[in-house]
Symmetry: C2
Subunit: 188 residues, 2 copies
DNA sequence: GTAAAATATGACCGATCGTTCTATTTTGAT
DNA sequence: ATCAAAATAGAACGATCGGTCATATTTTAC
């Protein structure tokens, strides 16, 4: 009852890693199994379908994002400090990427490098299904969290009272996206 | 000698349309052939490999971008007017997308909707090959064009003299990216 | 230690992938 | 109308896809 959970976690971790390189839709059960020294059917037994695995991968990514970005921000004082912490943690996530946090593997960091959500947004914006639904929800929550952090800054008197917090969230993610493209694609 | 060129163009158009929905890497020769009422081998005969087709698709996208975005900007007066025209044409491209310009098909517009380059950037940022190389080049050229337009604005005295034109280009594409994500994924 | 339950295997399914080959049809110039 | 060239079709290839199933192995609880 315990071994299975461990294997399942390994599978999801491996799939997330692979998704960062070739896209979630291109993660293949056979290749993934080989990479993990598992049989294809042994791997598949942990999920009811490939889509279920994809959703599990997305959930894992969300968990990591919470640990790496949301957590540090919440540990900072409300208002401007928290907003700054959020921005920095986000940029770190965008550029360095979300490793699994279980031991730091520089090679894995480079591969996983970059925000998986950006890739997923593009990959699924025209591909209906459970994965897309989950991606949409995660992005909604993220933007609303950023807006909330900005709103606190206003409430604390750190930011202008007439600040459009939605607009702030909008530009916040825009900067992140460009950052990633600049770094990963243009290597700058 | 003439019919072949027409067919080839149809194939590339169809592939570009399909790439907007499922990603360029997921464009499949069989499905594409069926969609165009061609045999798979008849289609394939126009390209030496699938990769060659992909590169042709990217080139077509670049052509359309030039017609739809670069062209209108060049028709405006140097400096701020051109920069504004560029921004507007870019946002239009980002949201409405780049139809083939040969007759306006609202349905196709919606499907093709959104900037194909954003999707390609994500799809190929970790996938070495000729397609990635072409994507990188197109993005480099685009950013440098934006920076150039901003630089003219400075030269004409329309913008502050100490304006960091590279930074402007950086934020320019960031806004575009967020715009697209907001519209296509979050439907807002 | 052993039986039951959980986990992994290997063989196999039909479908589709990109690609190659050899016909066959269509085209355009004479 | 003829005929070579150009364009398309059809069948087949090995590989791989997601998925199933009966079986074997390992883990866990008693």
């Amino acid at each position: 009852m315990r071994k299975g959970q461990k294997t399942r976690r390994d599978i999801v971790d491996g799939a997330l890693d692979m998704a960062g390189q070739v896209g979630l839709e291109h993660v293949t059960l056979g290749v993934l199994a080989t990479e993990l020294d598992l049989s294809k059917s042994g791997l598949f037994a942990h999920f009811e379908s490939k889509e279920a695995l994809q959703v599990a991968v997305l959930e894992e990514a969300v968990d990591r994002f919470k640990v790496r970005v949301i957590g540090p921000a919440l540990r900072a004082a409300r208002g401007e400090p928290r907003f700054r912490a959020l921005f920095e943690a986000y940029l770190e996530w965008m550029t360095v990427g979300g490793g699994d946090g279980r031991g730091f593997d520089a090679e894995a960091e480079r591969r996983t490098g970059g925000c998986i959500f950006m890739a997923l947004s593009q990959e699924y914006d025209d591909r209906p299904g459970k994965v897309r639904d989950a991606v949409v929800q995660s992005q909604r929550e993220w933007r609303s969290f950023v807006a909330g952090a900005a709103r606190m800054g206003v409430a604390e008197g750190h930011f202008r009272a007439d600040l459009d917090v939605e607009q702030v969230a909008f530009e916040f993610v825009g900067i992140g996206m460009t950052c990633q493209q600049t770094r990963k694609l243009l290597d700058d």
